[in-house]
Symmetry: C2
Subunit: 158 residues, 2 copies
C-alpha cells in the first residue's frame, strides 16, 4: 500500500480556512455517535478525501463500493446541502443512488428544484488531489446551486 | 400463504384500458432478457402490484426489502417517467433511494425540475388494492407531473 493511504494530517492546508471543509467535518462529527473522532483534528478527519491519481488507479472498480467511500460521498454532498441552506434558507435534501458498479446519481434538492445534479462514475475512486481541491470543488458546486436557488426560488418553495 | 399471493390474472380489469398500466407492462417486458414473460398476459404480468390490505399486514417490514419489490417500484416510476415524456417531450430520469428499512425517496426529474417527489415508507409493502387503483394512482402522479413540467418548462430544460 502506498503512503498516500496513511492517515497523516495534510499540513499544507487548514480546514478552518474553508467553510465547506468545516461543513464536511461537522457532518462526520455529527455521525460520530461513539466519539471515535473526538480527539482527531479536522485535517486528520478529512484526510481520506485525498486520493491521489496513482492511488485511484490502485482501487479496483469491479467490486461493491466500499461503505466508507459511500459515507464520504454522503458527507460531502450533505455538507454542500448545509452550505446552500445557510446561504439561501432552503432546506435541502440529498439523495444518493449508486449501484454496485459505482455508477449512479447524486441529487441535492429543495422543494421541486434540483440544486446539484451529479452523475457519478467510478464511485469507488471518489476523492480529490488535495484538501485544497476538495474545498474548491465543493465551493464551486455550492456557488452554482445558490445561483439556481435564487433564480428559481418559486420552484424550491413548491 | 393466502390466495392473494397467487398469480391468477385479475379478471375485473383490463390493462389495455389504461395507458399507465400498459407503460408498466412495457417496462417489465423491456427487462425480460430471457423471454420468461413472453407468453404471459399483461394482466398476469401486473398481478404482483395487487397487494391487499390483509396481505400487506402479513409482509414483515424488519428485513431487507425484497429485490422483486424494488423492481416493481422501479417499473412503476419508470412507467410514470415514460408517460410524462410522451406528454411533455422531456426526457425524465428516475432515482430510487430506499434503505434496508424500507424508507427513502423516489424522484422523477427532468433537467433541474423534480416532476415526482415521493417519500417512501414501508417499501416492503408496496402495492395497491387492485389494478384499477394502480392505474388511478399512476395517472394521478403523471397528471400532476405534467402540470409542473408545463408550468416550469424552463427549469426542466436546464
Amino acid at each position: 500500500m502506498s503512503d498516500t493511504n496513511s492517515v497523516k494530517p495534510d499540513s499544507t492546508f487548514e480546514v478552518k480556512s474553508s467553510p465547506f471543509l468545516q461543513a464536511i467535518a461537522q457532518q462526520i462529527r455529527g455521525q460520530d455517535t461513539y466519539g471515535v473522532y473526538r480527539s482527531w483534528s479536522d485535517e486528520l478527519l478529512l484526510k481520506p478525501y485525498i486520493v491521489s491519481k496513482p492511488k485511484k488507479r490502485e482501487i479496483p472498480v469491479d467490486g461493491d463500493v466500499d461503505p466508507m467511500t459511500i459515507s464520504r460521498i454522503n458527507a460531502f454532498y450533505r455538507a454542500a446541502a448545509a452550505c446552500i441552506e445557510k446561504e439561501t434558507g432552503f432546506l435541502s435534501q440529498v439523495v444518493v443512488d449508486i449501484n454496485h458498479e459505482g455508477f449512479g446519481w447524486i441529487l441535492v434538492f429543495a422543494g421541486h428544484l434540483i440544486l446539484i445534479r451529479k452523475t457519478m462514475r467510478d464511485a469507488h475512486r471518489f476523492g480529490f488531489d488535495s484538501l485544497d481541491k476538495t474545498a474548491e470543488e465543493g465551493e464551486k458546486l455550492v456557488t452554482k446551486a445558490v445561483d439556481i436557488a435564487k433564480q428559481f426560488a418559486e420552484v424550491a418553495k413548491l
